[in-house]
């Protein structure tokens, strides 16, 4: 069990640095053990330095930068230890157009190997869909799933 966690941590930490550089061009991100002498009991610290900046304190990151740093952490786990299925509910709401594009490019690499369920209000995220579900609230106060369009129809532009 110990070996299982230690090797997972190493792989996730490696992936995190790579993904952070992908999502924050010119930036630097690292996962660091709070107590390197006790790798199995230690907590995990996140160091996140966006490009062109020196500040590493997580709380000083902007709203969009925090979303992106959290996504880099989760995506690092997805890459290091893939799962068959992921569900993400409006995770890209704080991102500007440029970061939204970077996010979508990484998401597409996951969609090749895993099933994805995404809830969103962003039009560009909708374009990733193979199947689109429209949910609406009926006059009777009960939710309905009203439509289901397949790939060819949905790919926009």
């Amino acid at each position: 069990m110990e070996e299982l966690y230690a090797s997972a941590f190493r792989d996730v930490a490696t992936e995190f640095s790579g993904l952070f550089a992908e999502l924050f061009p010119g930036g630097e991100g690292r996962l660091v053990l709070t107590d390197p002498d006790d790798p199995l009991g230690s907590g995990v610290d996140v160091e996140a330095r966006p490009g062109r900046k020196r500040v590493k304190r997580l709380t000083l990151l902007s709203g969009g930068e925090r979303s992106l740093a959290a996504l880099a952490f989760l995506f690092a786990i997805f890459r290091a230890r893939p799962s068959p299925f992921y569900l993400m509910d409006e995770v890209e709401a704080a991102l500007d157009d440029v970061n939204l594009q970077r996010f979508l490019e990484v998401m597409k690499t996951f969609a090749e190997r895993s099933q994805m369920l995404i809830v969103t209000h962003q039009k560009r995220t909708m374009e990733m869909a193979d199947v689109l579900y429209g949910v609406s609230m009926g006059k009777d106060g009960a939710s309905k799933v009203i439509s289901q369009r397949l790939g060819a129809e949905v790919r926009i532009g």
Partner: protein, 165 residues
Amino acid sequence: VFLRSLTVRGFKSFADKTTLEFTPGVSVIVGPNGSGKSNIADAFAWVLGEQGVRALRGAQMSDVIFAGSPGRPALGLAEVKLVIDNSAGLIPVPATEIEISRAVFRSGESEYRLGGRPCRLLDIQELLSDSGLGRALHTIVSQGHLEDVLAARPEERRQFIEEAA
């Protein structure tokens, strides 16, 4: 392994029996505020064993049962069924399709079923453990909870990686 379909009945705002058929690719859910999108996400977390009422945005477990509306009476039962495709045989069962379900009554009693037969949550978790399904901490990101991993204490962050290990 992929999810074939999700059926909800009496779960939160889904008073009527509603089924979503999935493909192995990317499914996107859209709709107005308050229409029931995150309730679908909650249904996934719930059928895979979520025990925390706060994670389901309620105060007690019966909050997941359709509470009624000006047009319809409250229901006495919520039920969610998930059908998993196992044609690749990744899950060690002779079936090409696995059905798991969870139901809760107003009394608060929960009941899990595997292939239609009552079982414990543990049975479902053991069955799914090698497939990677059901590790909800890092595979289901609920609305407003993306940054939990940053806000968490360092020991709590470990748990995200431990679950995936």
